[in-house]
Symmetry: C2
Subunit: 411 residues, 2 copies
């Protein structure tokens, strides 16, 4: 199949490109290099020594059969004609859209970054949808959402839509008075209500609604993958070639929690648990993320269909993650410490959490059941790069509610 | 109170300013004049002969006591510092945000207009929220949403949130198989799921989620008024002064349905009913809209609260509206014809529709029970301007799904 990867130079885009090429697909891509640039701005760099794009491009062309197209544009900021022309040239069967600003703390820093996040993500996807409508309406859009769209409601979270069949007819009642007011249970597909927790997470919700509308109005097809945070740095497609390794961010803004914990373990810094550490999410190893995107690409929905996959195997609290890193560290003879910091975010620190996740498994996804071995492997993979760690960047200082400052350790 | 009206030169902004000044409030405002400009671009004009802004400003200063501030900016497009500086100068108690692109067809014309709509509305509100956070966090944001955020689900629509108390514990079941899977009814405030039907309607949903987050993260307070389409052209605050009249759009893009029907009746053109005409919504006269915004301003929510008002009295199908205009026309000795046109939109033409609307009534709103007299009055108010009608602009040609072209009359 012809697959266009938007954000091909990124953490997920690069290993996905390698995997799809190994699977015999024809890959093309765009990237604005915003991630490289923004991490440099933080006075940081990928912990892994990633290659420059021009060299990566050469490596790709040695393994793939078909020609490779590349365009350095920023969706949503560039004119809509850029993405239209790119898709016109490439005529992809599938488009994997990873070209979004992916950091919640980055989006919370100031009005400029909040605004850039919402423009790049929401308007970027809007431009993409129009371009698909105009030049490749049969292509399949694979879009990364996030489990964070749902927040932490005190009920089971379905995969995207509220289930259509209900037990009774009257299920919602007003709490204004004690008289049942007869809220009918919806019988047709309404989205499960979203409750996102940052300007970044909001963009994923806005995208969701924009894409649903495009599928309905224009008969486009899309898979929206609600991923838990991904961790890890190597996949089988890289073999032993260090030059093929993907980027690895561990700073407060672009490093997700397991990545950050592993780097803290390596540097001998206490793991930064935010608040009580009861925040519970589903996490997944890099190879599972790539596996699922490939499954989605190879099993497209029908025209007009918008489908949601929740992607994770089991859920862990932050305290459990810290314990896993502690134990993985012990296996590698590290003495890992854990500290509770003031939570810089506004989020529930203990909560009910029960999302569903069956659709990918029905397509053949074999999830990693226990993440502990993958965390141990990650620690081992990162050991050669310990000297590259910039320690001052791992303490949170972007706050949700007030002036930004480094969080204090809780007594 | 000090009230800042964003979009003060518009259809609702202008009569609201007149009303608030008459009520003794101190009014300030901004406007980009985008509405005047965009209607000119359609080769159209307000049916009513509205005054230029500089003259309107002089009229305002003769009736109010306090100084009047005005700034011509486009939210979302201008730098965020414009709105921050404005709010810093004004220090409002309430901010009424009407400065959004309000037309669904206009947003569906092409990618540029879809993009401008989402940037002006979503990023505009985002800039406003940041400015409030930074310079007037206690101010009350009154924002116009639309009943169109909800779409037409086959269940009762509550006012914003899913009611908190449920009959039983397990209310949603999966339709994947016949085994109840125990979807718990949410016990805490989740938003009722939205299902908007145009790029414009989507912006109102995006705003909703952005504002909810700002209330939660920053303790801002906001009232989101889900209005049905408003009609009418005069309010008591204008007295007999034609120079105080508000604008009146009747073209396919900026004219809402009752306004358009009245102009068609006056021009002797058959009323353009889209499709079967079973589309059902709540409509309200201009004076009710102004009344409700004033009620909201004078009864602010508490800090951190986001509240939703659904605003309409009863609902009408398009066929019923056409009948009302027919009868109002008969009273004025007009021979009104009704025609069914191909529906240019993607929408249900017959559907269940039962939204709740109690919160404004609890605050003292006395709604117009029957809109027929108000429609008759509107027809009479417009009669002096019949010669200004540009007839070619009232047939729909913006289509939701394909190349734009004039809709055909259905046999």
């Amino acid at each position: 199949m012809k697959v266009a990867i938007l954000g091909i130079d990124g953490y997920l885009g690069w290993p996905l490109a390698l995997h799809l090429i190994n699977q015999g697909h024809e890959v093309s891509g765009i990237d604005s290099f915003a991630r490289r640039y923004r991490v440099h701005e933080l006075d940081c760099h990928s912990l892994t020594p990633i290659e420059e794009w021009t060299y990566r491009k050469i490596m790709l062309s040695t393994v793939q059969v078909a020609g490779f197209k590349f365009a350095p544009i920023t969706l949503g900021v560039s004119s809509p004609s850029f993405i239209r022309t790119f898709l016109q040239d490439v005529q992809p069967d599938a488009i994997v859209h990873l070209a979004e600003q992916p950091s919640a703390p980055w989006s919370m820093r100031n009005v400029e970054q909040a605004s850039i996040t919402q423009i790049e993500n929401v308007i970027g996807t809007l431009h993409l949808l129009w371009a698909m409508h105009e030049v490749c309406p049969d292509a399949h859009l694979i879009k990364l959402g996030t489990m964070g769209e749902y927040g932490t409601p005190d009920c089971v979270i379905p995969e995207g839509e509220i289930p259509k069949r209900c037990l009774g007819e009257h299920v919602w009642y007003s709490n204004e008075d004690s008289t049942p007011q007869g809220y009918l249970c919806p019988m047709s597909g309404l989205q499960f209500p979203r409750a996102p927790g940052s300007w970044y997470h909001l963009t994923k919700v806005h995208d969701t609604y924009n894409i649903i509308f495009a599928c309905k109005a224009w008969n486009l097809r899309s898979t929206d993958i609600m991923q838990g945070p991904v961790f890890g740095v190597k996949t089988e497609d890289m073999g032993d070639k260090e030059s093929l390794i993907t980027r690895f961010d561990y700073d407060e803004q672009f490093g997700t929690v397991i990545n950050r914990f592993c780097v803290q373990a390596l540097a001998g810094i206490p793991l930064t648990v935010y608040g009580h550490g009861g925040q519970t999410r589903g996490y997944l190893p890099l190879k599972d993320s790539i596996f699922c995107m490939t499954l989605a690409i190879e099993n497209p929905p029908k025209a007009g269909e918008y489908r949601t996959f929740n992607q994770f195997e089991r859920t862990y609290s932050i305290n459990e993650l810290a314990q896993i890193v502690f134990e993985a560290g012990a296996l590698l003879e590290m003495n890992v410490k854990i500290a509770h910091y003031e939570n810089p975010r506004k989020e529930a620190e203990t909560h009910y959490y029960k999302p569903h996740r069956n659709k990918l498994i029905e397509l053949g996804y074999k999830p990693t059941k226990d993440i502990t071995p993958a965390v141990t492997l990650l620690l081992r993979d990162l050991m050669p790069y310990t000297s590259r760690i910039r320690e001052h960047l791992v303490i949170p200082e972007t706050r949700w509610d007030t002036m930004h400052r480094q969080s204090e350790v809780l007594k």
